[in-house]
Structures are given as structure tokens and as C-alpha cells.
């Protein structure tokens, strides 16, 4: 009897805990929609999404975040372009060719990279990357009358910081995927006379593609949602996302102006949050369809 009661009570506690996560997601979704939608109707969705003029405190305010959305897309794309090859090849090294002693050094280092707080990436980017890129900027645009000098705080800095930040995600998930490839496949390839390098690129990686794709999508998710690190290195002016321009991302747009914003300005910041939320939801959707496809195979 007592045993039965304990079992019952435990069951209830488990389901309550499980319900917490669901309740959190549900209430966040509701809250984002309730706070993000009013500004869309007040300022007009075309005005917000397709205008490039961001002057939230002017006499006749303008809330165009086209450049901000573009920056998030372009910045994330470039970071993935830079980070994924490095991450994937690191994973190949760890899974295929690394001697155990070396892997024992590299794997903890990668895990440590994932644990470093993002503000540290930002501060290091500000102290090391920005001055370096400023010198490059001065050389590239020497004598230019039209270029606005950013002091190194530009899209390129943000992309490099983001690329480093997505490395651990890409490496660890790709490595797991590569290790899951059945050894018979590799053995067949080698037996047919293919070199180890050919085997990696023509057999192992294609066989692990859905896992690698999942790694890329998770990396995109990490890059889209990052705020702290890039707010320190990207310059924060609303501009077209070109490598040496000061830019503002969806996340940093919220961070940088929430403090003093009031009225419609504040509501539009919530709308930006809603757009970011939709981005993340889409990425999650893609991820779960990839994983489902994998299970079907």
C-alpha cells in the first residue's frame, strides 16, 4: 500500500517537472506574440520589414529593420561558411586519423571552447581582433573619401568571432556522426583500392551527411542567437552588411536600445524579438525534419 503511494507520488512529481518545460515554452511563445504583434499593426509590417531606415526617436520615427535582418542572415551564413569546414575537418581528424594521445589533448580543448562564456569571446575580439582589423581597414581604404572608418568594429569581426563560437558544436556533433558510420563501408572502400583520403571524402562523410547537416543547423542556431559577444565587436550601427561596415544584428538591436526605449520604439524591439524567435523556430523545424529523415533511412 505504502509502496503504491510512493510510486504514485513519484509519477506525479515526474510529470509536473516535465510540464514545467512545456509551460515555459508555451508562455514564452504567448508573451513574444502578445508583445511583438501590436507594433507590427501600428507601424505597418511592410514599413518594419522592408524599410532600411532605423530612426526610432526622430520626430517622425522610422522603424525599418531590413538591414538588421540582412545582417543576421549574411553574418550567420559567412560564419557557417568559415566555421563548418574547419569544424568538419577537425571532426574527421578526431574520428579517423588522430593518434589517441593527440585526440586526448584536442577533444578536451574543444569541450573547453564550448564552455567559455560568450562575453569572453566578445572582450577578446574587442582587444585583439578589432585593432588588427582596423589596421587592415586603414591599409585597404587608405585615401578613401567615402568609406566610414569603423575602428575595426565591423561585420568581419563579428563573423570571425561567431565562426569560432560555433566550432565546438560543429566538431562534436560531426565527430559523433562520423563515428557512427559502419566500419564495413570503410573496409570495402579500402579493399577496393581507394586511398584513405578518398575513403573519407567519398564514403565516410557522405554516409554521415545527415548528422553533419544537423551539426551545421545547430551551428546556425547558435550563431543567430548570439548577442553578447558580437555586440562588443560589431560596431552596432545600422548599415548594409558589407565586411568593413559597422553592422547591427537582430540580437544586438534588442540589447543595445532596450535600456532607454519607450512607447512604440520599445514595442518594435519586441517585434524584433518575435522575428528572431521565428528564425529560431524555423531552424528547429529544419533540424527535426533532418533527424526524422535520418531515422527513416
Amino acid at each position: 500500500m505504502v509502496r503504491h503511494t510512493i510510486e504514485k507520488a513519484a509519477e506525479i512529481i515526474f510529470s509536473l517537472c516535465a510540464f514545467m518545460a512545456v509551460a515555459a515554452v508555451f508562455s514564452i511563445t504567448l508573451y513574444m506574440i502578445a508583445n511583438g504583434l501590436p507594433a507590427i499593426f501600428q507601424a505597418g509590417w511592410k514599413e518594419i520589414l522592408f524599410s532600411s531606415v532605423w530612426q526610432p526617436t526622430a520626430q517622425e520615427p522610422s522603424f525599418g529593420i531590413l538591414y538588421v535582418i540582412l545582417t543576421s542572415i549574411v553574418g550567420t551564413f559567412l560564419a557557417v561558411l568559415l566555421g563548418v569546414p574547419v569544424g568538419l575537418l577537425t571532426a574527421v581528424f578526431l574520428a579517423e586519423t588522430a593518434p589517441d594521445s593527440l585526440a586526448a589533448v584536442i577533444r578536451p580543448a574543444v569541450e573547453l571552447l564550448a564552455g567559455i562564456p560568450s562575453v569572453i569571446y566578445g572582450v577578446l575580439g574587442m582587444l585583439i581582433l578589432n585593432p588588427f582589423l582596423y589596421r587592415l581597414e586603414q591599409k585597404l581604404f587608405a585615401g578613401s573619401q567615402t568609406h566610414q572608418f569603423t575602428g575595426g568594429a565591423n561585420l568581419l569581426s563579428a563573423v570571425i568571432v561567431l565562426a569560432v563560437m560555433i566550432l565546438p558544436t560543429v566538431i562534436s556533433i560531426s565527430e559523433t556522426a562520423l563515428r557512427a558510420v559502419p566500419p564495413e563501408l570503410k573496409a570495402c572502400s579500402l579493399a577496393l583500392g581507394a586511398s584513405p583520403v578518398t575513403t573519407v571524402f567519398r564514403v565516410t562523410i557522405p554516409a554521415a551527411r545527415s548528422g553533419i547537416l544537423a551539426a551545421v543547423v545547430l551551428g546556425v542556431g547558435r550563431a543567430v542567437g548570439e548577442a553578447m559577444a558580437i555586440s562588443l565587436v560589431s560596431g552596432n550601427s545600422v548599415n548594409l552588411p558589407l565586411p568593413f561596415q559597422s553592422v547591427r544584428f537582430l540580437t544586438t538591436a534588442i540589447v543595445s536600445e532596450m535600456g532607454y526605449a519607450g512607447g512604440l520604439h520599445r514595442q518594435v524591439l519586441f517585434t524584433i524579438g518575435l522575428i528572431l524567435f521565428v528564425f529560431i523556430m524555423m531552424i528547429n523545424g529544419i533540424l527535426s525534419s533532418i533527424l526524422k529523415g535520418e531515422r527513416l533511412e
Partner: protein, 303 residues
């Protein structure tokens, strides 16, 4: 062994005795100081004044508002002064809606706010200072040059008498009171073309000091030797120049009430009287804000 322990106890007892003596001495002295304070309080005619004074508004005025609240409550122990820091516009909104007695604003009232019944009283001034990194030889800019730099028409320091080095234009984010005052001074609201928009005074100081060729603006009272100060039209932002208005790039610290002085509660009226008294002015001076030159117009209260 036993002897040692006895010695130890004796020493401990002596220490205890000393401590007791010291504590008693402190208590006696302390109570005497208390007596002295108490007697001075009794000599104040309005010490029995009761009521509340609620303030809300500018974050820049935090040290000013807290200092005044503390000083006033010392003087009138029966009055409760509270201060919240929600931003200038929010403070003015709050005073107009009647949820607080005084709105603190680090900018002047807008015509619409005056029409809604807000009355302003300039308490002190805050200078806004143009800064560069320490390696920059340029020490002086005209107002026109400043406008041109912030509009992106001048992009190199050699155009204003400096070295051949790109100008990195830095400023604050939209909504900041400092940015508003700066752009208002140059008469180019929302036309500035910033290369870096930073969301705190500290961030501007840090980035300007670490970026060769940078220019930025910060509040007068945060200056230190990591940056170089620029004069505007030949006037350096000294305390005296800001006070007299010779250095024009400043903003007022304003206290706002709904309706004139005669409509306020006794506690609020006494609060403003305290502000003007010698004691109040000394307190403001100690906080480090810049008082307005005597004889200068302090707002609508006397007009």
C-alpha cells in the same frame, strides 16, 4: 602546562577588559555626538514637517536625486523621499499622470509636455565633453567642424589640422539622453552618421581610448586621463565655463512638477526651498554637479 593555560586565560581576560573599555568609550562618545545632532535638529523650525516626496526619472540624475533625498530626510526626519530611475521621458510621464510628485529629466521639456501642464525647474547643469584618444594632437574643433565630422563630410583628422588619420565617429544609441543633448546642440537630430553606437558612457570611454583616431562624447563627470578632451570654438569644458554657459554643449538637470509651486504639497514646496538654501547648494556642490551661475534664469517658477 597548567601554568601556561592560566597565563593564557589571564591574557584573554585582559584583552576582554580592554575591549569592554573601548566599547564603553565609543558608546559614550557616540551618544554625545547624537545629543549634539539632536539639539541642532530641534532648532529647525519645520522639523515636524510630515509627508512624502516621490521622484522618478533620469538615470543620469541618480547620484543627484539620491543625495538630495538623503540630505532632505536628515533635515526633516518625518518626510519620506523616494526616487526611481526610469529615464527622463518616463519620469515626465509619471509626474503628468500624478503617480509621482517630481519628475527628474536630463533634458529640457518639450512644448507638448509644457502644454500638458509640466513646469520645469533647472537644478544643475551637466557638461557633455568631446573626447579623443590620447595620441591625438588636435585639441580644438569648431562647432561647424564637429557637425561635418558627425555627418561624415569630414573623414580625416588632417582636414581639421591633425595628422593623416581616419576619424572613427562614435556615439550613443538612440534614446540616450546624452545623444539627444549632443545632437540638439549641433542642430542635427537623427542626422548623425555613427560608425560605432555604444549603449553606455563607460563603453564610449573604453572604445575611444583604445581606438586611434576615434572621437566620442561623454558626460563631464566621468572624465579621466585615458582620453583627451577637445575644446569647442576655443572654449575648454571647465566647470566654470559650463556654469556660465560659455561652453555651450551642456544639458540641464531639470525637476518637473505638474502645475506651479502653489499647487504642490507642503513637503514638495519645502523640498524646493531646501534645494535653494545654502545647505542644499552645498550638498549639490559636494555631489559634483555644476550649479547654475547666480542670477541666471532657473525656470518658470519665478516667472
Amino acid at each position: 602546562m597548567k601554568k601556561m593555560r592560566e597565563e593564557q586565560t589571564e591574557r584573554n581576560a585582559k584583552k576582554l577588559l580592554m575591549m569592554v573599555i573601548v566599547v564603553i568609550g565609543l558608546l559614550a562618545f557616540g551618544s554625545r555626538a547624537d545629543d549634539m545632532l539632536g539639539s541642532s535638529c530641534q532648532s529647525v523650525p519645520n522639523a515636524s514637517l510630515r509627508g512624502t516626496v516621490a521622484m522618478a526619472g533620469s538615470t543620469s540624475m541618480e547620484s543627484l536625486a539620491n543625495g538630495l533625498a538623503e540630505g532632505f530626510m536628515n533635515r526633516y526626519p518625518q518626510v519620506m523621499v523616494t526616487a526611481e530611475f526610469t529615464g527622463s521621458s518616463a519620469g515626465i510621464e509619471a509626474v503628468l499622470s500624478g503617480s509621482v510628485d517630481i519628475g527628474n529629466s536630463s533634458r529640457q521639456l518639450r512644448p507638448a509636455e509644457k502644454a500638458a501642464g509640466a513646469v520645469e525647474y533647472v537644478v544643475a547643469l551637466d557638461g557633455i565633453v568631446m573626447i579623443t584618444d590620447v595620441g591625438n594632437p588636435v585639441g580644438d574643433l569648431t562647432k561647424e567642424q564637429l557637425s561635418a565630422i558627425y555627418q561624415g563630410k569630414i573623414r580625416n583628422w588632417c582636414e581639421v589640422g591633425g595628422r593623416d588619420m581616419a576619424i572613427v565617429v562614435m556615439g550613443r544609441e538612440a534614446g540616450s539622453g546624452t545623444r539627444e543633448a549632443f545632437e540638439e546642440y549641433l542642430e542635427m537630430e537623427d542626422q548623425c552618421d555613427y560608425a560605432n553606437e555604444l549603449n553606455s558612457t563607460g563603453a564610449v570611454m573604453a572604445r575611444v581610448s583604445s581606438t586611434p583616431g576615434a572621437i566620442g562624447y561623454v558626460s563631464w563627470d566621468v572624465l579621466d586621463n585615458t582620453v583627451e578632451v577637445l575644446a569647442i570654438d576655443g572654449v575648454r569644458p571647465t566647470k566654470e565655463a559650463i556654469r556660465t554657459g560659455r561652453y555651450g554643449l551642456s544639458r540641464p538637470y531639470v525637476m518637473v512638477t505638474r502645475g506651479g509651486m502653489e499647487e504642490q504639497s507642503e513637503a514638495v514646496r519645502e523640498f524646493f526651498r531646501y534645494l535653494e538654501s545654502g545647505e542644499g547648494e552645498m550638498l549639490l556642490e559636494n555631489i559634483g554637479v555644476i550649479l547654475i551661475a547666480p542670477g541666471e534664469d532657473k525656470g518658470n517658477y519665478h516667472g
